[in-house]
């Protein structure tokens, strides 16, 4: 746990907190994008370099851009003012959060120490594309194809549902 | 949008790239004007006697659509006539900011006294300087008010920034244009 790791962890927590608590949706989305970039940096520090770049390119660069695009398109930056539809949920959510945190602490307290990041990452051989390629396309090929099919189904479903005219329910 | 059309567009601009620009590098080079250009007015004189052609009839002031001309006539002194008729224009002023350079005054003038010349470098700084008097407009005067002012300050002759193929005959006595 070097100083850099602590610093990054603190920044991750801060941006995550801001992403949830900022009132302006565009600011919150930008905090989330910063969070994703920091996660990419963490991946790179853990020697999973390819994954780190992909995290930045795909998450912060494409997904968050489109997210903010939708917010801007719908002028949805300011939250709508109105009554909370589920008033009893906040204390319940807080309770679940506390219980979950305690459970995780108990689980990690009893676990044996993980491999040092460097040693574990050595197995990744620097996390370059050359190292990941055989893993994705040979060892875990069917899992990758399954995920791809899932994404395809989701895309087609989204387009079909939102198609104007005689398409499915709007 | 076919690829051929796009390629032809590129060809046109490339041809332009290697041809000589059509820009006239004024003020380093004179602007070529046409002979009937509507520039600053000139009050002409008769070539043989040297008397002014203007008889102070104010037809130009009446014809001016912008009310830019002010004429005050006066009786000609028989021993020292200024113009060839009975009267001459004692005060003749044109407000260059009101003038629209339409040429109605030139068309209305019965003696051909007021004629539109070629000078266009009339830009100046104060409104009051734009009311040109008879002295500023007479045919003996070369250059506009700001040009003459700067020429006097710099002790150089007035340099006119244009050239014409020929001076039209109505502009009698105009030499340097």
């Amino acid at each position: 746990m070097s100083l850099l790791d602590l610093f990054l962890g603190a920044l991750l927590l801060l941006t995550g907190f801001l992403a949830v608590r900022l009132k302006n949706a565009v600011h919150a989305a930008l905090a989330l994008a910063a969070n994703f970039i920091l996660v990419g940096v963490v991946y790179m520090l853990l020697e999973a370099r390819f994954l780190g770049w992909i995290q930045i390119i795909v998450y912060a660069g494409a997904i968050m851009v489109l997210f903010v695009f939708v917010i801007m398109l719908l002028y949805a930056a300011q939250a709508e003012v109105g009554a909370d539809p589920l008033p009893g949920l906040k204390p319940l959510a807080a309770a679940v959060g506390v219980v979950g945190f305690l459970a995780l602490t108990y689980a990690f307290a009893g676990a044996k120490a993980p491999l040092a990041a460097k040693a574990a990452s050595a197995a990744l051989a620097g996390g370059t594309a050359e190292a990941l390629g055989p893993l994705i396309w040979q060892t875990w090929l069917y899992a990758v194809l399954l995920v791809a099919a899932l994404l395809l189904v989701a895309t087609v479903a989204a387009v079909t549902i939102l198609r104007p005219g005689e398409g499915g329910g709007r | 949008m076919s690829v051929m059309a796009l390629a032809k567009a590129l060809g046109i601009t490339l041809r332009h790239f290697f041809s000589k620009p059509v820009t006239i590098p004024y003020p380093d080079a004179p602007v070529p004007l046409k002979p009937r250009f509507h520039g600053r007015h000139v009050l002409t004189r008769h070539p043989d006697t040297g008397l002014e052609k203007c008889i102070g009839c104010s037809l130009c002031a009446a014809a001016c659509p912008a009310y830019a001309i002010y004429v005050e006539p006066a009786e000609n002194d028989p021993e020292n006539p200024v113009s060839i008729g009975e009267r001459y224009a004692k005060v003749y002023e044109i407000n260059m900011l009101r003038c629209i350079f339409c040429g109605n005054c030139e068309e209305a003038c019965p003696t051909g006294a007021i004629v539109l010349g070629y000078e266009f470098e009339l830009a100046d700084y104060r409104y009051s300087d734009f009311v040109y008097t008879k002295e500023d407009l007479l045919v003996d005067t070369v250059g506009s008010k700001p040009q003459r002012r700067e020429a006097k300050e710099r002790k150089k002759p007035v340099k006119l920034g244009f050239e014409v193929p020929y001076v039209r005959p109505e502009l009698e006595g105009v030499k340097y244009e």
């Binding site: 302006n24 565009v26 600011h27 930008l30 994008a33 370099r49 390819f50 770049w53 992909i54 930045i56 390119i57 912060a60 660069g61 494409a62 851009v65 489109l66 903010v68 695009f69 801007m72 398109l73 930056a77 620097g126 370059t128 594309a129 | 796009l6 567009a9 590129l10 046109i12 601009t13 490339l14 332009h16 790239f17 041809s19 620009p21 059509v22 820009t23 590098p25």
Partner: protein, 325 residues
């Protein structure tokens, strides 16, 4: 370790200064070049041949009044030009200008770095549009996102065959491969075409300069910006042009490699190839008109992406069959 950092810092500083100088004189090239394409002279009053014009422009811009519109989202309004400028500048760090050490950051996955930076640069554009709080910049910003993301995909698809054939994501090694085997413009001509067209869109250059379509959007996403913040956007835009041209020269035309066996001089050959693309983009800017926005999006998703994908599959087949994998 410290020494390596120091050397990198010096290289980075030299690169930044070179890029800013290049930006200033690209404005001169742009104005004089466009003028010659339009049979007129460009600026020629300030200094011989107008060479001091960029300095005069800079002085004028500095002394302009810096306005912040009332309805602007202050934090984003300030942040957007900073983002645009920084990421445009950052993209050049991985481009090798000479053999071995002549690169600021020889990242193993240089190609991915370039992507990441291009996508982060999009943030500057649409945040500016949003933060200005008025409709023309917002429209400009939204149009930019949709178009830039779409063309970024085609860009990525077009680079993949190059990466496949070279067997590496490292830009220096791609140049070395081209030095040995020949330039990618020969082996990957369809990819080059797709990459060039998508690059024009990424640079927001005609025929894809939707973001600042003056006839439609006043000045697009940077309408409400003045003085130094506007200069930051302007620098970012021209830097995209500069960096994009350098990238095409590196990926498809061999980078710093000297063609036809001419003597190898580190910065010179990349400069020549880069200048070729600068001229080409300027020529296109002077000659063609803007595509309609929906035509442009349809072109990206319906033509460029399928063509790039098919070419990628063809290349993949040949790479595997030819045993280059």
């Amino acid at each position: 370790m410290i020494w390596a950092l120091f050397v990198t810092a010096v290289k980075a500083l030299v690169l930044i200064l070179a890029l800013l100088f290049a930006f200033a004189y690209i404005t001169w090239i742009m104005r004089r070049g466009l003028a010659r394409f339009q049979i007129r002279l460009g600026p020629n009053r300030v200094g011989p041949f107008g060479l001091l014009q960029p300095i005069a422009d800079a002085v004028k811009a500095i002394f302009k009044e810096d306005i912040t519109v009332a309805r602007a989202d202050r934090f984003l309004y300030w942040l957007a030009p900073f983002l645009a400028f920084t990421f445009a500048l950052a993209a050049f760090a991985v481009i090798p200008v000479g053999p071995d050490g002549w690169v600021v950051a020889n990242i193993d996955m240089g190609v991915l770095y370039v992507f990441a930076v291009s996508e982060l640069a999009i943030y500057g554009v649409f945040l500016a549009g949003w933060a200005s709080g008025s409709k023309y910049p917002l429209m400009g910003g939204l149009r930019s996102i949709a178009a830039l993301v779409g063309y970024e995909l085609a860009l990525g698809m077009a680079i993949l065959p190059v990466v496949l054939m070279a067997g590496t994501l490292n830009l220096q090694e791609i140049v070395e491969w081209q030095k040995q085997h020949g330039y990618f413009i020969i082996y990957q001509f369809p990819a080059f075409l797709v990459y060039f067209i998508a690059s024009l869109a990424e640079m927001s250059r005609t025929p894809f300069d939707f973001a600042e379509a003056e006839q439609e959007l006043v000045a697009g996403f940077h309408t409400e910006y003045s003085s130094m913040k506007f200069v930051a956007f302007y620098i970012a835009e021209l830097l995209h042009w500069i960096v994009g041209s350098a990238l095409i020269a590196t990926l498809f035309l061999g980078g710093w490699d000297a063609p036809f066996g001419l003597p190898e001089i580190p910065v010179l050959w990349l400069f020549v190839k880069w200048a070729l693309f600068i001229f080409l983009v300027l020529w296109i800017w002077a000659s063609w008109f803007r595509t309609r926005y929906d035509q442009m999006i349809r072109f990206a998703w319906g033509v460029l992406l399928p063509v790039a994908t098919v070419w990628f599959l063809i290349t993949a087949y040949y790479v595997v069959k030819g045993g280059m994998a």
